[in-house]
């Protein structure tokens, strides 16, 4: 059943792929918007192991897509291929129709791909404010100024403070991440992503390891991002209640392959997801 649905989704996409070079007129005529992000046949092999296998998918602005799947399904690897930490063995990544498959992570970030990491990945000895300010500075293209003093750009500092306020870390702005609690580190991770003002927000298990009372703050932030802007949000998440409350669409990865894609309620109820989450392995003979 699922297989059929997936095939059905891929066909029009490969049609679009063929029309890639003249995408703009095509898109307008077909009255659909250009996907903010698209992967075409994205594949990566590590030796004999195929971690992500021929994943083709489009993500539109204003949509929050949850990516679910059991451990080792290739969700984070898929993210790494999109944001550039890993290079695809084959396939393409496109941002607003532009092929970015061979660009380094920094160039992808400049084109609007923002990534928050699963394992907290901050500047451990710099203050929380400096962490955010660096992200703001990157967005403002101010990094190549060598002869000004950093604090002459008050606007960057003000913006960083405003973002810290949004994630409720203002009172901890002079503390370095290594001295912050795990939950605060996660919030700071979200703050960096907000500061980058990306077109595509990629969250990799933003609530993992957080205490129960901290989770709503982060979920609210993600919800607000979607509400406020026309952002495309990708969310890797294990907690099904989180997925159910936030996602407009769910895609399921299993052994690196896209096995389901669609409306949250429908996908969660599907046998594939039930199998994957109840551990009734069938595909892994």
């Amino acid at each position: 059943m699922r297989r059929v649905k997936r095939e059905h989704r891929i066909d029009p996409k490969s049609g679009l792929a063929l029309l890639g070079p003249m995408r703009k007129p095509t898109v307008t005529s077909s009255a659909t918007t250009t996907p903010a992000l698209e992967t075409r046949g994205l594949t990566i092999r590590f030796g004999g192991h195929v971690a992500v296998n021929n994943v083709s998918c489009q993500f539109s602005p204003g949509t929050l897509t949850a990516i679910v799947g059991p451990n080792g399904a290739g969700k984070t690897t898929y993210f790494n291929l999109i944001s550039g930490q890993l290079c695809a063995t084959s396939g393409q990544v496109l941002v607003e129709g532009e092929d970015i498959t061979f660009l380094p992570p920094s160039a992808r970030a400049k084109r609007g791909l923002g990534r928050a990491f699963q394992l907290t990945n901050l500047f451990p000895e710099l203050t929380a404010l400096e962490n955010v300010r660096l992200a703001v500075q990157s967005r403002a293209e101010a990094g190549w100024s060598l002869l000004k003093v950093w604090n002459s750009r008050r606007d960057l500092i003000a913006k960083a403070e405003e973002i810290l306020e949004r994630v409720r870390l203002s009172d901890k702005r002079h503390i370095a991440p290594k001295a912050l609690s795990h939950g605060d580190q996660r919030k700071l991770e979200v703050a960096l992503l907000i500061a980058m003002e990306p077109k595509v927000f990629m969250f990799d298990e933003p609530t993992a390891g957080m205490s129960v009372d901290e989770v709503p703050t982060v979920l609210e932030l993600i919800h607000n991002i979607k509400q406020r802007s026309d952002a495309t949000v990708l969310l890797v998440e294990h907690k099904m209640d989180v997925v159910r409350s936030l996602a407009d669409r769910i895609i399921v990865l299993h052994n690196g392959t896209l096995v389901a894609d669609g409306d949250p309620a429908e996908v969660i109820a599907s046998p594939v997801v039930q199998e994957a989450y109840l551990g009734v392995e069938v595909a892994n003979g």
Partner: protein, 372 residues
């Protein structure tokens, strides 16, 4: 206000960037009364050396301190701020020295020769730094270090083999432009009993160029660019993900560092009126630089001032001090031998081990911590 113990007040944005001093120091104040005092003392003593001490030895020591402050500060830009371990820093120091030496020896003792030699040296350094950077800053840190080591060794061999140009192991002695020669008199009358001659002009030229270079480096490490370098040192992976092209930033940092080391090498050669493998190119100078950075405090420009001053002073006067001590203790068993001047390196080594053990953040780190 709560602050992290790791970076006390390093990012206090409430400190409004105003005031002339703050501007000159690029908002990076010493942040410790003791440190401020020591830095001021070093500045004043260096500036007044010709009038405070007689003889050529103190003046030469002061000149050497100035040159090494610049050299160590430029190395700290790489090691302390960017987290790059390079062993090719003396190569750039040497290029500066040879640039001046070869130009003045071949083209005659004029200011034009100085300009040509310096310009050629800067260009060569920049080209080499870009080449090393682009070829190897992508690879893992350890390979970069190994490559710099290989290139620096090759350069040292080249300098000693091409004796027709570089003077080989003997090095090159040369004449300075007229205004820098000891015989040149700017004023006929001495001031405060000190003759205002070419040597004095050379010293102050060196002093002010060194001061300028230091303040330039202080500005660079406190610029938005410098902040990116520190981010790269902390987590290059994340810096890249935020949109900073890490290879480009690192390469730029190594080019700036190389250029300033080249200027330091040129100053050294101009002061010594000589350049050879042992004064600028040798690997033992590289080790000295590393020690000075670590003793002073990595990632603090002020650390280079303290590290270089202490180290050069120890190099110049520890032996003298030990000789005096050894003589005073004559008759006591073992002790005179232990502090015999020949053992000065042993004691320097011991001082180094103790200081690294006791002050992992260097002297500057320790002083700033004490201020809290």
């Amino acid at each position: 206000m709560s602050t992290s113990p790791a970076l006390p007040l390093a990012f206090d944005e409430t400190r409004k960037s105003g005031g002339a001093l703050s501007g000159i120091l690029s908002s990076d104040m010493p942040r410790s009364k003791v440190l401020t005092f020591i830095l001021l003392a070093i500045l004043v003593v260096l500036a007044a050396t010709p009038f405070l001490f007689s003889g050529s030895q103190p003046l030469s020591t002061a000149a050497k301190i100035c040159v090494f402050i610049v050299l160590v500060a430029s190395y700290d830009l790489l090691l302390g701020y960017t987290g790059i371990v390079s062993f090719a820093h003396t190569m750039f120091f040497g290029i500066g020295g040879y640039g001046i030496a070869i130009a003045l020896e071949r083209l005659g003792p004029t200011w034009t020769s100085v300009a040509i030699g310096l310009a050629a040296a800067l260009v060569l350094s920049a080209v080499l730094a870009v080449a090393i950077g682009l070829l190897s800053l992508r690879v893992r840190a350890i390979f970069f270090s190994m490559i710099t080591l290989a290139v620096a060794s090759a350069m040292a061999v080249l300098a000693s083999q091409l004796s027709g140009i570089t003077g080989g192991e003997d090095g090159l002695s040369f004449q300075l432009p007229n205004e820098l020669r000891p015989a040149f008199r700017l004023l006929s009358e001495p001031i405060l009993g000190v003759a205002i001659n070419g040597r004095l002009i050379a010293f102050y030229m060196l002093f002010f160029v060194a001061l300028l270079m230091f303040l330039l480096l202080l500005r660079i490490v406190n610029s938005p660019f410098g902040r990116v370098l520190q981010a790269i040192r902390e987590n290059e992976f994340r810096a890249e993900a935020l949109g900073y092209r890490v290879v480009a930033y690192r390469t730029t940092a190594s080019v700036i560092s190389a250029l300033i080391a080249t200027v330091a090498g040129a100053l050294m050669a101009l002061w010594l009126r000589y350049n050879g493998p042992d004064t600028t190119l040798s690997f033992s100078i590289m080790i000295d630089i590393l020690l000075m950075v670590v003793i002073g405090g990595m990632g603090t420009m002020y650390g280079s001032v303290i590290g270089a001053s202490l180290f050069v002073l120890a190099q110049s006067y520890l032996q003298v001090l030990m000789e005096a001590g050894s003589k005073a203790l004559a008759g006591v068993p073992v002790l005179p031998n232990l502090i015999h001047p020949d053992r000065w390196l042993l004691w320097l080594g011991a001082l180094f081990v103790i200081s690294v053990y006791a002050f992992p953040g260097g002297i500057v780190g320790r002083l700033r911590q004490a201020e809290q």
